[in-house]
Symmetry: D2
Subunit: 92 residues, 4 copies
């Protein structure tokens, strides 16, 4: 992706943690770990995916639609800020 | 987990696909792939996690609470069958 | 439904609040209220529906599958308790 | 809200159906209807709320951030079109 390097390394950190969670679920399925504990691991993974999604959407809005902090059109800047807040609420 | 071997290998297949999807998202973040395409990959991953969750919950109900196909109590068997259907509806 | 009267009145309280939220969204759409504020009202409604769903599933498990507090089979009681915890985690 | 009248009447139609679904759930809780059937009604309601959310977010993007069909900046128009597609995928 073409976003700022700082944002990209945050996103990479998030997806690497999710891959690590997938590996932990794989090991848990192979080991003698209770079904309910595996479900709790998968629930954390789902939470992490929602967090990644919210951040990707926010970056998409900021870099490809309108940046609330720098848009010269005040109405559009406010619309984009509200949209980012809504996305965070829905995916938290 | 202590479930039937057949169910376990299905679950392992699912989580390995999810790990593969996480690796694909990681590569996409490093490459010149559009933000919206990365979001679509993450959406597929979320769908796959819902599918894994539904299957884990169904197995938990079947092996640790009540098996709709073999429970000697007809009311409990029906209650478990309905619960599995509800879980599938919510997570599809 | 055939559940205990106490549980039924809790469920009725929840669905009445959700109906009230739907009425508030309807009024907001008719009034000069900002789009983002309407989305926040709808997000609260979605949270309330998740809460109702978790409670209905818990009651279904307890009354129609296995009651963790009263089942004579200790394994099944534990399996049902774990399932209720998982449902709450997924729908909170 | 200040959106086009045509969009507003679609949104009103959606929220009125959701209110009707809430009333149906309330009646079902009072009647001798099975718990699993009530859960299926609530699942439909949740689907309808996701549909309303997707439409509200699309309208917000279109009227308050950037309209993919009319924006003079081609990059921003494409970014907004992609965002609407992503929102629909996540909430369908």
């Amino acid at each position: 992706m073409s976003h700022a390097t700082k944002d990209k390394s945050k996103l990479l950190g998030r997806i690497r943690r999710i891959r690590g969670q997938a590996e932990a679920v794989e090991r848990a399925l192979g080991a003698e770990i209770g079904c309910a504990d595996v479900l709790m691991l998968v629930a954390s993974m789902r939470g992490a995916i929602n967090g990644l999604t919210a951040e990707l959407m926010e970056d998409h809005i900021r870099y490809h639609v309108a940046d609330p902090d720098h848009d010269s059109d005040a109405d559009r800047a406010r619309g984009a800020a509200e949209l980012i807040e809504v996305v965070r609420t829905y995916l938290k």
